[in-house]
C-alpha cells in the first residue's frame, strides 16, 4: 500500500498528471449532470452521435491545418446538437434515427478525410485510434487546454445550478411547461448547446467512442438507488467524480489507457448500484 502511495506521489510531481486529474474530474461531473436529463428524455445516444460529429470536424480541422481545432469543432458540434435536440417533435426523421444518421455519417466522413489527407506523422490508424479512444491525449494537455476546460466547466456548472428548476420542469413535462408559459424551446436549445460543449471537452478524456459512458452510467446508477430528481442529480455527479478519479489513478499506476479504464470503473460501480437497488427494493 505504501508503495502505491509513494508511486502516486512521484507521479503527482508531474504537472500533466495533475492537469489530467483536474480536467477529468470536471468533465465527469459536467457530463453526469446533463446525463440525468438526457437519459430521461430518451436521448442516451446523443453523446455518441455528437462525439462522432466532433470526430468528423476534428479530422477536417486537422487536414485544413487549423492552429486550434476547437475553432471548427465546437461550432459544428453545437450546430448538430441543436439540430438533434431542439427540433423537437416537428422533425420528419425522429430522435434515434436522426442521431444514428448524423453519427455514422460524420464518422465515415472523418475517417475518409483522415485517409485521403494523412497527417505529418503518416500513422493513420494511430491517429484514428487516438481520436476514437482518447488514448494518451489527456496526459498531453497544454496549460491553455486546462484553463479552457476549467472555465467552460464552471460555466456549465453555474448554468446548471441556476437553471436546475427549469431543466427539471422541461424534462419532466415539456407540454405542461410550455402550455403554462415556460419557454421550453429556449431551454431545450440551452441543454443542446451545453451538451455539445461537454462532449467536445470530453473527447480529450475518453475519446469519441466512449463518451456515452460518461453521460449514461452515472445517471443510470443513481436512478437504481435514489428516487427524487435532486438526489439522483447529486448522486450521479458524485458517482461520476469518484469513478473518474479512480479511473485516472488506476490508469496511471497500471499504465492502462485512460478512457477505457474510467469506463471500466463506471461499469463496475454501476453493477454495485444495481445490486444495492435490488436489495433496497426487497426490503
Amino acid at each position: 500500500m505504501i508503495e502505491v502511495f509513494t508511486k502516486l506521489q512521484t507521479y503527482f510531481e508531474y504537472p500533466f498528471v495533475r492537469y489530467a486529474l483536474i480536467v477529468g474530474l470536471l468533465i465527469a461531473v459536467c457530463s453526469s449532470l446533463l446525463g440525468v436529463t438526457l437519459v430521461l428524455k430518451r436521448y442516451s445516444f446523443i453523446g455518441d452521435g455528437l462525439s462522432h460529429v466532433a470526430f468528423g470536424a476534428m479530422a477536417i480541422a486537422g487536414v485544413m491545418h487549423f492552429s486550434n481545432q476547437m475553432v471548427l469543432v465546437l461550432p459544428v458540434t453545437i450546430l448538430a446538437a441543436i439540430l438533434l435536440l431542439a427540433g423537437g417533435k416537428k422533425r420528419k426523421i425522429k430522435g434515434d434515427a436522426a442521431i444514428a444518421m448524423i453519427s455514422v455519417g460524420s464518422l465515415a466522413l472523418g475517417y475518409m478525410v483522415m485517409n485521403i489527407f494523412p497527417s505529418k506523422s503518416g500513422n493513420v490508424s494511430g491517429d484514428v485510434c487516438s481520436t476514437l479512444f482518447g488514448s494518451t491525449s489527456i496526459l498531453t494537455l497544454s496549460q491553455f487546454d486546462v484553463w479552457l476546460c476549467v472555465i467552460l466547466s464552471f460555466v456549465v456548472l453555474l448554468v446548471y445550478v441556476l437553471f436546475y428548476n427549469k431543466i427539471f420542469a422541461v424534462t419532466f413535462d415539456e407540454s405542461f411547461a410550455s402550455a403554462t408559459g415556460t419557454n421550453a424551446g429556449a431551454y431545450n436549445l440551452m441543454i443542446a448547446v451545453i451538451i455539445a460543449i461537454i462532449i467536445v471537452l470530453a473527447m480529450n478524456l475518453v475519446g469519441s467512442l466512449l463518451i456515452s459512458a460518461l453521460v449514461i452510467f452515472p445517471a443510470l446508477s443513481a436512478m437504481r438507488v435514489f428516487k427524487t430528481f435532486k438526489s439522483v442529480t447529486i448522486c450521479s455527479a458524485i458517482f461520476s467524480a469518484v469513478c473518474a478519479v479512480l479511473g485516472i489513478l488506476i490508469s496511471v499506476l497500471a499504465s492502462t489507457p485512460v478512457g477505457s479504464t474510467i469506463v471500466g470503473v463506471d461499469v463496475a460501480a454501476f453493477c454495485i448500484f444495481w445490486i444495492i437497488g435490488i436489495i433496497r427494493r426487497k426490503n
Binding site: L40, D173, S178, T180, G181, M223
Partner: protein, 237 residues
C-alpha cells in the same frame, strides 16, 4: 366574466384539418366538457387553445387579463413520466415555473403554495414519495396539484380519468367539481358523455356539425337525444 372566446377556429396538423367551425366561449366559473369520437380533434383543439400548436384559421382570445402563465393544464401521462425519478413535492412545485421568468429558485411563498395545493388534493402525506411508485389515481392528484400551482382561474384537463378504476374515477370527478365550485373554470376533454352531462355546465360536441351550448340545450338537441336514446336514464342527478 368572459375568459376565453374562440371564433370560427379550424385546428389540425400542417394543413390537414382535424376539426373546423369551432365557436365557443368560457366564462369564469363555467365547466365546459369537450366530447366527441376518438380522432375528432378534441386533443388537437386543447393543444391549440394552450398554444402548443398554431391554429390553421380563426381566433382564440383570452379576456379577464388571463395570460399564458395563469392557465393550469392536466396533460395525459407520457412514457417518460412513468419511470421518472422525482418526488411528489418536486413535481407539484414545478407548476410555478411559468411564473418564474429568469429567477432561478422558488420563493418561500411558492413553497407554501405548493403545500396548499397538495393539501387541497389530499396528498400531503405523499410529498416525499417517488412519483413512479404511486397508483394511477394518486399520480393524477399530483398532476392536478401541479396544475393548481399554475392557475387559480382556468384549468384544462385532457382525459383526466383515463385508465382509472370506477371508484377512483368518481373521486377524481368529485375533486374537479369541488375546484369548479371554488371558482376555477374547467375545460375538460372526455369521451365519457354520461359523466360530461352529470358534471358539466356547457357541452362542446365535436362532430361533422359541431354543437356548443349549455347542458340543458344539449339534452334537448338532436345530438343529445340521440345519445340519450343509446345510453338513456343516466341524466338524472
Amino acid at each position: 366574466m368572459l375568459q376565453l372566446k374562440v371564433t370560427d377556429l379550424c385546428v389540425g396538423y400542417d394543413s390537414n384539418v382535424v376539426a373546423e367551425h369551432l365557436n365557443f366561449q368560457v366564462e369564469s366559473g363555467d365547466y365546459l366538457c369537450i366530447v366527441g369520437e376518438n380522432g375528432s380533434g378534441k386533443s388537437t383543439l386543447m393543444r391549440t387553445i394552450l398554444g402548443l400548436q398554431h391554429p390553421i384559421s380563426g381566433s382564440i382570445v383570452y379576456y379577464d387579463g388571463l395570460s399564458k402563465n395563469e392557465i393550469g393544464y392536466l396533460p395525459q401521462q407520457t412514457v417518460v413520466q412513468r419511470d421518472f425519478p422525482a418526488s411528489v413535492s418536486e413535481i407539484v412545485i414545478s407548476g410555478f415555473q411559468g411564473k418564474m421568468g429568469l429567477l432561478p429558485f422558488y420563493s418561500a411563498q411558492q413553497k407554501k403554495g405548493a403545500l396548499d395545493a397538495m393539501e387541497k388534493m389530499g396528498i400531503t402525506h405523499l410529498q416525499k414519495r417517488c412519483y413512479r411508485e404511486l397508483s394511477g389515481g394518486q399520480q393524477q392528484r399530483v398532476l392536478l396539484a401541479r396544475a393548481l400551482c399554475a392557475t387559480s382561474k382556468i384549468l384544462l384537463l385532457d382525459e383526466p380519468v383515463s385508465g382509472l378504476d370506477p371508484k377512483v374515477t368518481a373521486e377524481m370527478y368529485a375533486l374537479i367539481s369541488e375546484l369548479n365550485r371554488q371558482g376555477i373554470s374547467i375545460i375538460m376533454i372526455s369521451h365519457d358523455i354520461s359523466a360530461a352531462i352529470k358534471y358539466a355546465s356547457h357541452i362542446l360536441h365535436i362532430d361533422n356539425d359541431v354543437f356548443y351550448g349549455t347542458k340543458e340545450s344539449y339534452l334537448a338537441s338532436e345530438k343529445g337525444k340521440a345519445f340519450m336514446g343509446i345510453d338513456g336514464g343516466e341524466k338524472n342527478d
